[in-house]
């Protein structure tokens, strides 16, 4: 165990930089996922049949394709096609767009979970369509989706590893692999990487539970 601690102190700089890269990757992708996911969810509940179908195609495509293949398309594929995309853009775009499909589905289910009577009541009280959505439907929808959105975020944190596995971004796992191949202390290097990831996922779990206790509606 003392040698494990030594490995941590000796390589703390590299591991910390990998941890920071992972956090930035997760943060950037989360922003993309929320923005695109909301837009796709809007398409999915739009009054037009065509827009709904478009949203559906997005969700089914990005939810069923392996993230690794998406990364190969976004980075190596686009570069071969002559588009000089860089690793960070490709990584954040892929992870973000992939996660957006899940976000969209959850948001849509949240909107549908608000009972029809609520909408009828709002309309009969003289709210217009926009206000009904903004003041009645969305606040309630948001509260029902906290828990599933949380699971998606945690899955996204875990999926961020795949980005480092496909393109040259030195995230936490990549740094741990470099340390492992240099020192031959595979167990220790991977142990600290695992601790790093568990730290982030557990922190996210606790934050989500807090949010849930404050806002969630149990149905």
């Amino acid at each position: 165990m003392s040698s494990w601690l030594e490995l941590l102190t000796d390589n703390f700089g590299a591991l910390a930089s990998g941890f920071w890269v992972t956090l930035r990757l997760v943060g950037g992708s989360f922003a993309v996922a929320v923005v695109v996911g909301t837009l796709v969810a809007a398409l999915r509940i739009a009054p037009s049949n065509w827009l709904q179908r478009l949203g559906g195609v997005y969700v089914e495509t990005f939810r069923n394709i392996p993230l690794l293949v998406l990364l190969f398309i976004a980075y190596f594929g686009l570069r071969r096609a002559g588009l000089p995309i860089n690793t960070w853009t490709a990584g954040i775009a892929s992870l973000g767009l992939y996660t957006a499909a899940y976000v969209a589905e959850v948001l849509r289910s949240g909107v549908f979970a608000v009972s029809r009577g609520q909408i009828d009541a709002a309309l009969s009280l003289g709210f217009d369509q926009r206000d009904t959505l903004r003041r009645i439907v969305l606040p309630q929808a948001f509260r029902t989706v906290i828990s599933p959105l949380g699971s998606i975020t945690i899955a996204m944190i875990k999926n961020s590893v795949i980005v480092g596995g496909a393109v040259a971004i030195n995230d936490l796992l990549k740094e741990a692999r470099i340390i492992a191949s240099r020192t031959f202390e595979t167990e220790a290097a991977f142990f600290w990487a695992a601790v790093g990831y568990l730290l982030v996922t557990v922190a996210a779990t606790v934050a989500i539970r807090r949010l849930e206790q404050r806002y969630a509606i149990r149905r």
């Binding site: 089914e60 495509t61 939810r63 069923n64 394709i65 392996p66 993230l67 690794l68 293949v69 998406l70 190969f72 398309i73 190596f76 594929g77 686009l78 071969r80 096609a81 002559g82 899940y102 589905e105 959850v106 849509r108 289910s109 979970a113 828990s147 599933p148 699971s151 998606i152 945690i154 899955a155 944190i157 875990k158 999926n159 961020s160 590893v161 795949i162 596995g165 796992l173 692999r177 492992a180 595979t186 167990e187 991977f190 990487a193 695992a194 990831y197 568990l198 996922t201 557990v202």
Partner: protein, 266 residues
Amino acid sequence: MGYLFDPNNWEWLVTSNNFEFLFEGFLVNLQIALIALIFSLIGGLALALGRLSRNKLLAFVAGLWVDVWRNLPVLLVILYVYLAMPASWREAYEDAAPAFLPDVLQTGRVFAALLALVLYNSAVLAEIMRAGIQSLDRGQSEAAVALGLSYWQRMRIVILPQGLRRMLPATVSQLITLNKDTTLVYIIAIEEVARRGRILTGFNFFGGVQAPLLQVFIVIGLMFIVTNLGLSRLSRRLEIREQQRTGTTVEPVSGLEDQVATVQAR
């Protein structure tokens, strides 16, 4: 855009045996997913029963095991198991692997991939099964006790048939995730579809013609999309049939990326 729609690039895919080469790789992915699923279901059931056990120690250990493995990135697990596995284990697998498996699946590194996928997926499936079992009305278990059934009889006759049926949609969602995760074993140099895609596009063919990398990976992506869409259709079908048969809806299982499928059904 010109590159994407250039017919020569698409034609390249069907010249010689490029497409067959990829498709054979994809079949390796499906086989890995299937084998991992079978063992994960067995392991998941054992872990779920352990976690629900009245033996406090067993419940704690099973719970800790499940929570650790399902919260780790699966790629980390694959790499770790591969690097940490003693060579003797791999050799033992190579000796023990049944001869009907294709050559790729008989190599020792596949054992590392399978073990890692089972470690992760059995933990996830254990949680799905636990949720399925716990969603049953307490009265079911109490009635079974009142009828004088033993623990195993209760599980086998009353609890599991109902609980497992409820977890079917979530299990299929997890199977889709597992199916996608099989591409990750490319990192330990198993010749499945993603690795084959890289091999195919890694060097320049015939007189400096660059392999159409974008098209190759779009085709690989389509293979997964078609298969996974088929799986989710099947799951939806089974779910609807179940609802019509029993008149109940499935309780959502929380804590999973792919719970979306169950939330949606409500």
